[in-house]
Assembly symmetry: C2
Homo-oligomer: 189 residues x 2
């Protein structure tokens, strides 16, 4: 059995055949490729931000980065365009039954506030891996929770109440565009 | 004199004091920071796409990338949100009096076509460094030129005719948002 993406270092005691060994990022990559190829939406994951320190040129055409460091992202990981609208989101997997807000850094929260204020569609996609449930949770609800509660995490119950459960399927793997229609563009359930 | 960004390897025979040693990327970074801080628009440069091969962990908190390679970008470098609209562009400096189309790869052209078809605002910003002139050139005009002409470059005269000259100033350095108002959103010159 081949996995399309590198397997995470976190070892699982039992292999979850229901999700076929796919992590959320792989599912979203497949989904975004499907949307792109079928002319539904244009969504890309941003490259990992790094600070390059040393590059060696073995020959004129071939540069090798020899020293670089990961940087903290100042925006969310995904953005793009759907039905003329700007969309922007972050995706996270959690193993607990709550979503620790430390998963999203202060710059990212600030970014999400700005996107909402400028008329963009902004949300998070959170997968609770032990339950194999993935939710789309609106940025507006995330901000409300952060501003209203002093809690350090959002319990699963809040996702069940306010979030939108994403269906998993063969293609697209994780149909979040249908949920955008419902949650933002007045589509019917 | 300190430069806010790494100086390019291409040596200039004469230093152009008119543009204060700033390259286009630095100008756009300053401009985007100005737009962000003044709540005008949210535009970020995407990180350079790289393929990471080897990472060493000196300690648990500190990871150093020891081997990585540059990848060809499949989208444009900049995207964001302005007045609820998705905006997307690529920026290039050229030393010639024409813009070689080899500056933009086939994936990027394909991406620009899609963005236009999905209702996004898409353009290129091209600086002719020897003239110290910087133009915004609409993606629609770029695509028309590529589809209509068999030429490998776009002459300066076409930029003068169809493009929009960007004003350089102290703040914002390169006011392309005003041009978006004029070129796309029905604003007055």
């Amino acid at each position: 059995m081949k996995y399309p993406n590198a397997i995470k270092k976190t070892t699982r005691k039992t292999i979850d055949y229901a999700n076929r060994g796919m992590d959320l990022e792989s599912d979203l990559n497949l989904t975004n490729t499907y949307y792109l190829e079928n002319n539904i939406a244009i969504v890309h994951k941003k490259p990992t931000p790094i600070r390059i320190v040393k590059v060696s040129f073995d020959n004129k055409k071939h540069a090798t980065i020899k020293e670089a460091y990961f940087r903290l992202p100042s925006t969310t990981d995904y953005n793009g365009l759907y039905k003329g609208r700007y969309i922007d989101f972050e995706a996270k997997e959690v193993r607990l039954k709550s979503f620790p807000l430390s998963n999203i850094n202060a710059h990212q929260i600030e970014h999400m506030r700005k996107v909402i204020n400028h008329g963009g569609i902004c949300f998070i996609i959170v997968r609770f891996t032990t339950l194999n449930k993935t939710f789309l949770f609106k940025g507006e609800d995330l901000i409300d929770y952060i501003d209203g509660e002093k809690a350090k995490s959002i319990p699963l119950a809040i996702f069940e109440e306010k979030g939108y459960l994403l269906k998993e399927a063969f293609m697209p793997r994780l149909n979040y565009i249908d949920i955008i229609d419902i949650a933002y563009l007045g589509g019917k359930v």
